[in-house]
Subunit: 203 residues, 2 copies
DNA sequence: ATTATCTATAGATCTATAGATAATGC
DNA sequence: ATTATCTATAGATCTATAGATAATGC
């Protein structure tokens, strides 16, 4: 059994754990934690249900593993925002990276949204431990930029919230966006968001 | 049995249906459709489980009834946007009404978000039938305002999407917002959003 | 007479485990 | 020998119904 004490995960173990996690990301992001079943995950992974439970102790461990992996990916675009770069460029590039993530990783966005929507029962510690200090650090950077006159004065926290909201909207509310828009939203959204944040932040 | 053919709903029927729907809004918005159970709804309503099923044919009918009622409430702030009013004022007021709704009706916002997040299985027809024509109509109004030079030129659809995203974020991601912010977000959010949309839309 | 409510439980769904068997690596 | 997989099923949870009883309105 692949428990925590075993030394080296075999090739087949690595492969099957990946298959399971990818299948689970499909299923959890589409139906939520409670809406997802091991049957669906097993079917999507091409493995039997008991075999899923050979690699993970249960449904919850699969979900937690996905959320843990997600946190790093999710924070990465903000981590990359560089205090030494040009302020307006750094922020507008951050917006575009987040928008690109909504297009390229919609399942991850929805998994995250579903978890927060239901009160972050499994993610709350991560938000406190990882997201909060990162946000504080980056808001301090943004505040410095504003104090130096490189950006217009706005509330840095609400600025970042609005970037999260507007960019993730295109993944999380994709169903609605596609009902209301006839063509692919990505390019027109990119242009709109650039225009909005440029007009807001240009000093 | 209170089926569709019965004439007049009694007082007690009205009351109990309200109790059930209010309880169900609590439970569905907190745990999602699949995560909610009739036991939880019954407990929250203060009625027995079979009694719940005396008033509604099943879990799904309760959910559908809530979504149907919600659609009207949800569109109302946009309906109120008046083509005859001052363009910038109308749009900034719309933003504030939507933000107020996130504060006053967070359960409704989360119910809606959860439904869309999972592909709108029960709401898709409403989106096409009600939301899409309304959005088209209001986007035409906004476009006229822009053509008349009363507002800066931006993509009206993405403008509205961004308003939905930024305002509903404070209800749907409330858990996250409260981890990251020490005081109540409403007033500072109102100020930030006013500033953002004013700078974007002022011609 | 009709409406409303309760107890008890059927039937479906789902997570997880037991126990046997097959495949792999030294 | 160890790792991986399978069949069968236990046990929990959940929706919904059956059938009896209580409350209400003409």
């Amino acid at each position: 059994m692949p428990d925590g004490t075993s030394k080296k995960p075999s090739r087949i173990q690595m492969r099957n754990r990946s298959l399971i996690l990818d299948a689970a990301l499909d299923v959890f992001s589409a139906h939520g934690y409670r809406g997802a079943t091991l049957d669906q995950i097993a079917e999507a992974a091409g493995l039997s249900k008991p075999n899923i439970l050979y690699y993970f102790t249960g449904k919850e461990e699969i979900h937690v593993t996905l959320l843990n992996q997600l946190m790093e990916t999710w924070l990465d675009p903000l981590v990359e925002m560089d205090a030494a770069g040009d302020p307006l460029t750094e922020l507008l590039d951050y917006v575009q990276r987040k928008l690109d993530m909504s297009r390229d990783l919609p399942r991850e966005s929805r998994l995250f949204a579903g978890e927060i929507l239901q009160g972050a029962p499994r993610m709350l510690p991560h938000l406190r431990a990882d997201l909060k200090p990162l946000l504080n650090e980056k808001c301090a950077v943004i505040q410095t930029w504003m104090n130096d006159g490189k950006l217009a004065q706005v509330d840095p926290r609400h600025l970042v919230f609005s970037i999260w909201a507007t960019t993730q909207h295109y993944a999380d509310f994709d169903t609605q966006v596609r009902v209301l828009l006839d063509d692919d939203p990505h390019d027109s959204a990119a242009q709109f968001l650039d225009q909005m944040y440029r007009s807001l932040l240009t000093p």
